[in-house]
C-alpha cells in the first residue's frame, strides 16, 4: 500500500527508508543466529512460527468473529457493549492463563511450581466478568428508559 508522495516530506521518506533497512538487518541477523540449527530444530521452529499464524487466523479470529455476529443478532441491544467488553477481557486473559490451566509443565518432584488452584481462580474470573456484564447491561437499560430519546445528530 504505497502512500501518495505528497503526504510525506523527503525527510520522513528518508527516515522510513532507514527504518526499513535497520529492520531488515535485524531480521537477517536473527536468521543468521539460526545458521547452525539442526534440521529437526529448524522444522520445529518453522512449525511454531507458522502454527501461531494458523492458530490465530484460522481458528481464534474466525471464532471471535462468529461469536460477535451471533451476539449482535441474538442479544438484546443493551447487552451488546457490556458483553463485548466482558468477552474481550475474558478471552485475552484466558489465553494468558492457558499454560497454568493446562495441567502441563512443571515437574512431578517439584511442588514449588504451579502450586495454585488455577481452575478455581479462572471459574471465579469467568463468573465475575459474566456477572459484571449483566449488571452493566441492566444499568444501561434503566438509564435508557429513564432518559428521553436522543435527538438525531445534526
Amino acid at each position: 500500500m504505497s502512500e501518495p508522495a505528497s503526504s510525506s516530506t523527503s525527510s520522513t521518506t528518508a527516515l522510513r527508508g532507514l527504518l526499513i533497512a535497520v529492520g531488515v538487518g535485524f531480521g537477517l541477523w536473527g536468521l543468521w543466529l539460526m545458521r547452525d540449527f539442526t534440521s529437526e530444530q529448524l522444522i520445529s521452529t518453522g512449525t511454531w512460527l507458522a502454527g501461531g499464524i494458523v492458530l490465530h487466523d484460522a481458528i481464534l479470529a474466525p471464532v471471535t468473529v462468529g461469536l460477535g455476529l451471533a451476539a449482535s443478532r441474538l442479544l438484546p441491544g443493551h447487552f451488546r457493549a457490556a458483553t463485548s467488553l466482558a468477552f474481550l477481557l475474558w478471552a485475552t486473559l484466558t489465553v494468558v492463563f492457558v499454560p497454568v490451566l493446562s495441567g502441563q509443565g512443571g515437574k512431578p518432584d517439584n511442588d514449588t511450581i504451579l502450586g495454585r488452584p488455577y481452575l478455581l481462580s479462572w471459574l471465579v474470573l469467568t463468573g465475575v466478568l459474566a456477572g459484571s456484564a449483566v449488571i452493566a447491561a441492566r444499568r444501561r437499560r434503566r438509564v435508557r428508559h429513564a432518559a428521553p430519546a436522543e435527538p438525531p445528530p445534526a
Binding site: L19, G23, S44, W48, I53, D109, T112, I113, G115, S121
Partner: protein, 390 residues
Amino acid sequence: MRLPTVEDIEKRIPRPEDFESRARGTELTARVGTALGIAFGICFLTGMWSHVQYTQPGWLPIGPQPTQLYRLTQGTHVLSGIAAIPLLLVKLWSVFPRLFIRPPTSSARELVIEVLERASIGALVGSSVFMLASGLLNIAQWYPWEFSFRRTHEAVAWVAIGSLIVHIAVKLPVIQRAYTASIEHPEAHLDPDAISRRTVLRGALAAAGLAVVLTAGQTVPFLRRFSVFAVRDGQGPQGLPINRTAKAAGAAEAAQDPAFVLEVVVGDRTVTLDRDQLLALPQRTHRLPIACVEGWSRSATWTGPALRDLLALAGGEPGSDVTIRSLQTRGAFGVSRLPAAYVEDYRTLLALELNGETLSLDHGYPCRIIAPNRPGVFQTKWVQRLEVKA
C-alpha cells in the same frame, strides 16, 4: 453438476467490507499498536540484557552492583511479555478484515509491493506469536518443541523486532493520520448499542494491566496474594521456591555422601575442605535474591564463607574468574564461570545456610554459590570444585 470455479470460491471468501463492527479501524489499531510496541520494546531490551549475562562481553560493565538489577530486568521482561498478549490479540482483531483484501491486479509493481508487505506482516505476526507463546510456556516449564529455548527465543526476537521496525516504517503515514483523527468511527452513532473504539482500547489496556497484576506476585512481594495465576507463589522449603530438584539434576546421591569434600584449585595448588571445615571458616550473612530467568524472584538470607576468602586459602589473588563445577550429572549449567568482578565482592558466598537453617538438599546442600545481581541459573548448587587458572 459442474465443479466450483476459482470465481465461485472467491465469492464465498469474505471481503474486508463484510466485517460489520465499527469498533475496528486504524484509529484504534494505531493506539493499541503503540502500547504493544512499547511492551515489545521493553521486552526486547530486557531480554537482550538477559542474553548478555550468558556471554558476559568484556565491554559491558556487568557486575555485582546494583544487587537487584537482574531481578528487576528479568521480572520486567516476563511481565512486559505477559502484558503484550492481550494487546497483540486486540491489535490482530482490529486488523483481521485486512487479511481478506484481494491482491491488486492493476500493475505488477503494486502486486510486488503488496506481496512484500504481506511477507513482512507474516514475519511480524508469526514471530510475535512465537515469542509470546514460547516465553509463556517456558515460564511454566512446559517445552513442547524440539528447539533450544534460549537460542531460538533470542534468534526469533531479532526477527520480531526487525519486522516490527519495518512495519512501523511502512505504516508511519497511516499512524500519523490515525492520531490526528478522533478515535471513534464517524458513523458510530448509527449503532449506539455496539461497543465503542474507546471502550475497546480501554479494555485492551485493562486486560494487559490485569494480566500483570494477576501474575506479578512471583517477583513483586506485595502482589503475591493477588497474583492467583502466577506460576510461582513464592513458597518452598526454607521459604524459597526451587527451579530444579537434586533428583532432577542427578545430584542427590553425591550431595549426601558423608565423604564429600570441596576442592579449591588455584593453579597447581589444591585445598580440600569437608563441610565441617567450611563451617569453621569465618561466616558472612547477606540478604540476596534468587532471580530466575523464568521471571520469578525472592530474597533470602544466606550464610557461608565469602568466595574470595576460600580462594585465598589456596593462594588465590582477587582479579581472576572462577570456574565452578557442580555435582550434578544431568541438565545444563553443571559448570559455570563467575567473572572476577563478582568474586571480588565479599557478598558472593559459598552458602551453607539458608534463612538460618542448614541448606536443604534441593537448595544445593552441601554448599552453593550465591552472588548479587546474577541470573538464577548461574547460582550453582551442589558445588564440588572451585577452580582458578594460574
